[in-house]
Subunit: 325 residues, 2 copies
């Protein structure tokens, strides 16, 4: 691989990007990270932020002119052959309250990135979609061939809308699109999510951990190291068709919020008690139980190294150290 091959990673200074960028550098690539630093931070990238093959640009890819300028900068470095689109709102309740949030950060980022890819002739898109596009289908197995897709949050809606845009772009001008439907992902640098939330709550009120909902919600969790490995494995496949849709996740059925809360307390504040709320939904847009099928991913010969419980256990320890507790 020539040194002049460039990956653009949108939202690359966030949680996923910080774990992906080092892997792209290992391939010999130059990486242009574009991030508006609304949730991401150059600090997340640590020492790689100063790697000469990393270019950091603070810009909002929901803005057309800023996105074009970012692509011009990338093209001046070398041949840009792929965009990793990781930019999104990650605060689901905020997006339910105000639809403008997911519109701008989750939908419009995809829209403008696709316009720039067409203008600059960038052929491949790897998109961080979400299991939230499935909505609340109860006990049904959520595999890639199921429908109808009825997301219950604006976050899920704008992820599905982004998939739809990317699919149309594949027909019209892209060479390849990978739509990665993420599960709940844990690890560091943690910027949001249930583990960071619990750790921070215990720091604020050491005697009690207040949990939204009754704790029976059950979800599958993947460690970010496995997530990145899965995406790279799918990207390396020579597949037929222009659009690949794949659920990424562990092979188990997940763990409950109660188990997570108990694990965080045991690691951070063993003396704290846990106070549960009512109902099995934490907030509008939260899905109580997930039966998330990763059969397709497994059929590609890939399995995660860590199951949900192991991923959570490792991430709690990583986040506790990150937060200095």
């Amino acid at each position: 691989m020539s040194q002049s091959t460039v990956s653009i990673v949108a939202g690359g200074a966030g949680f996923i990007g910080a774990n992906l960028v080092p892997r792209l550098l290992e391939e010999g690539r130059h990486v242009l990270v574009v991030d508006n630093y609304s949730r991401g931070s150059a600090n997340n990238l640590g020492h790689i932020a100063s790697d000469p093959r990393v270019t950091l640009i603070q810009a909002d890819v929901s803005d057309r002119a800023a996105t074009a300028e970012t692509f011009r900068r990338a093209a001046s470095i070398g041949t840009v052959d792929e965009v990793w689109h990781l930019a999104a709102n990650s605060d689901i309740p905020a997006g339910v309250q105000d639809s403008d949030v997911d519109f701008k950060d989750t939908f419009r980022t995809t829209f403008e990135l696709l316009r720039a890819m067409r203008e600059f002739g960038v052929p491949d898109l790897h998109f961080a979609s979400s299991s939230a596009i499935y909505g609340d289908l109860g006990e049904q197995s959520l595999h890639e061939s199921i429908g109808p897709l009825l997301p219950i949050s604006n976050y899920g809606a704008m992820k599905l809308a982004s998939e739809a845009q990317a699919s149309a772009a594949a027909e019209s001008f892209l060479r390849r699109v990978n739509l990665f439907r993420f599960p709940n992902v844990v690890g560091v640098p943690a910027t949001h999510g249930v583990l960071l939330d619990f750790v921070n709550k215990l720091a604020a009120t050491p005697d009690v951990l207040h949990v939204l909902g009754d704790g029976t919600q059950q979800k599958a969790y993947l460690h970010v190291s496995d997530l990145v490995a899965a995406m790279l494995a799918v990207r390396a496949r020579k597949v037929e068709g222009k659009v690949e849709v794949v659920n990424i996740g562990p092979t188990d059925e997940g763990v409950t919020v109660r188990w997570i809360a108990e694990s965080v307390v045991a690691r951070v504040r063993p003396q704290a008690r846990i106070a549960f709320g009512q109902g099995n939904k934490g907030w509008v847009g939260d899905v109580p139980k997930f039966n998330y099928s990763t059969a397709r991913l497994q059929s590609y010969g890939w399995t995660p190294k860590l199951g949900s419980a192991q991923a959570i256990a490792r991430a709690i320890d990583e986040i506790a150290r990150q937060q200095g507790v």
Copy 2:
């Protein structure tokens, strides 16, 4: 029904609206038609435009302030209990060329209507979605439970994006959402579509009808009278769940472009010859063959009065008269 019950029909001065509004008036409703007249026209509504129970507003519902003003006007007439969202770009190739077209006319209209429905407490949405959300799934039966949904045009993408938004809104603040996945619909007042296109081409060049593609594309067609009847039948059902997704279409497998071309020529210019193009796609975003399942709709006890061939035959005659040929 009180005279003060109001339906808002967005895009109501277009082809579908002109056929729907009279049926809503028959229910005793007041109807507020909002249309930007980009493709719609008050002329399409004929004598009902002057009915005292019809309020016509020229406004673009992709604009937030204009939409809020429209809803204020509707609320001043009576209790607004439903929105029919028929506004969309209908020029699929234009939307493939420039993604801003479907973004504004198909996506953003839904986005702003939903914001206004929340603000004004309007509970029910009836949305004109499309079979285009399925993309090109080959010979597979396109039923509502199939996935993944991979539209191949920005039109299809923004229709799917609109479904997704409406689904999230149902979870958060709406009472009921009907997502009607339209087939190809024919009838008058024709504003676009293959029949009007063929009739107009023959008026311009009476000796030959040039057809995009080789004529083997096969699609199902529904007459607009049946489409409106189906939507009203689904709306009248007392269903469980907040979101209904239903394919609307005839029960047959459709007719070919060749058959349509021959039928138009026979009615309009019997001496004209037909010149076919290459390939079985007319344009990017066109799906060559559709196996569109309407089993769900039939399970509700509804079937169309006209099959594809009958619908086309009637519509050719209606359009020929509309165009004065």
